[in-house]
Symmetry: C2
Subunit: 395 residues, 2 copies
């Protein structure tokens, strides 16, 4: 088995070079990648091992598992981390003096172990910088996320037919998960942040949408069990309820994010009105989200539009309101940037961003839609193309 194909190496080289430019800016002379999301970013696959990226030249790939990956000048089979300095010296590579690690992704134990292996190196936490590198996608990555979004939207078209009268939110969720999986969804979603956990989709019917989250989610449901307080809570779907379905894609390494709302019969006019405001906020953001815009301004413009229509008090939840309207996405569900209050980070071309203005309507449930977009010079390209009106499941 080869670690990566010759054709794919050109793509990976773009990523390595972006990391090397960042290392230069940070004054580091190498980084050692050891966590799954960044191993995937730098090799295109999951391995158990380490990618050593020097400031210049090609990376070295130290692979513990899988056993049997081809060995060459760049790919070196290892048993343990402690072999690295000897192997680097054997290749006449200088040992790093300022080494970047992923302190926000790796455990404390792994950091300490690495520090002992490179006792003469200053260690530098590059978690945020590597996430910034990943937030601006290559053309290849954009096409992967477009394909993931295309399959996601295709699976979505099958969802309404899965509803049967008398179902619970959980049963409806299970049928949608199955449909996603049959379309090729891998079923596991990487999330940044050690306290984050999520299943394949969050399905929230009625007031469950306002259950305050134990995670860093805005409106994600209370769950079936206190050990996983997210998504459906087992409620029967009843007349007058909105059923919000927030689901990731992951038909390849890349995730797109999408939310749509179903109804059981008719909703109140207020719910339809608030839903329309969500669509209007997204239309506004499609124009305003251009390179150079700040995350904070985009959030505030969204909030102001919600306020203008009288929905500020239920924007992004009621009981636990999130001051947030969207997030970057890619290899993880929650990438940079975060479109939230007080975040002065800038938007860049080729970022991939999910925008999810949502509203909580008590006794009805959540309304609003979420789409994934690619940032271009003149605005956003929507890649989750599917009807955004509220679909009545009983019709």
């Amino acid at each position: 088995m080869e670690l990566f194909s010759k054709d794919f190496k050109a793509e990976l080289s773009l990523r390595w070079q972006k990391i090397q430019r960042m290392l230069h800016q940070q004054g580091a002379d190498a980084c050692l990648i050891s966590t799954n999301v960044n191993l995937l970013y730098t090799t295109g696959r999951i391995i158990m091992g380490y990618v050593y990226i020097p400031l210049s030249g090609e990376p070295l790939f130290f692979v513990r598992r899988p056993y049997g990956v081809i060995e060459n000048d760049q790919v070196i089979a290892i048993r343990k981390l402690e072999q690295l300095p000897g192997l680097l010296m054997g290749l006449k590579m200088p040992l790093p003096r300022k080494l970047m690690l992923e302190g926000g992704e790796m455990t404390y134990t792994d950091w300490v172990r690495t520090a002992a292996v490179f006792p003469d190196a200053d260690l530098l936490d590059g978690t945020h910088q590597i996430r910034q590198v990943r937030s601006v996608k290559t053309e290849y990555e954009l096409n992967e996320v477009r394909e993931s979004a295309r399959l996601q939207a295709l699976a979505f078209t099958k969802f309404p037919a899965l509803y049967k009268t008398g179902m619970t939110d959980h049963e409806f969720s299970v049928e949608m998960e199955r449909e996603m999986r049959l379309h090729g969804c891998l079923g596991v979603f990487r999330i940044f942040g050690s306290s984050m956990e999520a299943g394949m989709c969050s399905v929230m019917a009625g007031d469950n949408a306002d259950a305050p989250s134990a995670y860093d989610f805005a409106m994600s449901g209370g769950g079936l069990h206190p050990s996983l307080p997210v998504s459906a809570n087992g409620s029967k779907l009843e007349n007058g309820m909105s059923v919000m379905v927030d689901f990731g894609s992951a038909f390849n390494a890349y995730i797109s994010d999408m939310t749509r709302v179903f109804s059981i019969g008719k909703l109140t006019q207020k719910a339809y009105d608030a839903h329309q405001v969500s669509l209007e906020i997204q239309n506004m953001l499609m124009q305003k989200t251009v390179p150079g815009a700040t995350c904070e301004d985009l959030y505030l413009a969204s909030y102001q539009l919600a306020e203008k229509y009288g929905f500020a008090d239920c924007f992004m939840g009621i009981t636990q309101q999130a001051k947030f309207v969207g997030h970057g996405i890619g290899l993880a569900l929650n990438e940079l940037p975060v479109l939230c209050d007080s975040n002065k980070e800038l938007i860049h071309a080729n970022m991939v961003i999910a925008l999810e203005p949502k509203f909580m309507i008590p006794s009805t449930g959540a309304v609003g839609s979420e789409n994934t977009y690619i940032v271009h010079e003149n605005g956003l390209e929507k890649i989750t193309i599917a009807t955004e009106s509220i679909i009545d499941l009983t019709v």
Copy 2:
């Protein structure tokens, strides 16, 4: 919302006392729990926040999310970690001098942040010690895992009818996942180790069972995509193949583990013979796995039985053979102890252990079974009760 009910507090007290005894042994005067698996262990639910367990007396619960958890002398709403010293002092609690943290579960960044919050405390990594505490279950926990296993075995009885001629391993997997979810499986499995990832089940048909894992799994399949190299690889299920299904339960907070093998038509005699050896190894281990036995001895006894029947070369895989036969299980899929070569840890009563002697038969696939057991004074109690013979899906 209450953090936990009065009835459940007696159960949690048992766990807090076990941790306090361990703190005493380790010379620590408190531990600060911050990672999901241990928050779940010490509160019975997922919160975003911290559980502060002093050497004696009741723990304090500092809750960031969900918003609206009841506040009392023990439950304190916080916005950030940095408030803790002030809040402890306000409660006339001494600040810890030797504070245990979960260095093998939390990120380096979180450890450093905690160190800055408690600058006068010596920090101690208690990951392994807390996992040891968790490895011996309370009666309540044993009943939870029994119930999870009961539902798992019940869902399993529906699996054979889900097979249709011409299916791929992936399609079969999706139907089994759906069945599990409809029986109430929560669908997300906690795993120890930052490089570990898994979906709801590993389905391996034919030679895919021997794909060398990029994870710390013995025989788990190559997967649909290099970004998640585990389980089904999309192969069509064909005559003469074994289809191994290794699936977790998680119908509540607790996981049991179970593997069964299906066949498409008849397998070779060698496959049936090896399968029988797996059952014989488990019968042997049911007697030998008693308090005081060492993990290493149990692995070696298993290996020797495999060797006696001439199956040593394909025991636990061929391409990437694991020197391992089982593992503890509970709130995480892989708990202590690990029944592997060179592990001198002792078995204790009330541990929950999954035993999975498996064999790889080239051109056929994997055979063997896996069950979850509770350790009693006189041997093991099997809790995953379902037929263990190879079920021909075409009959």
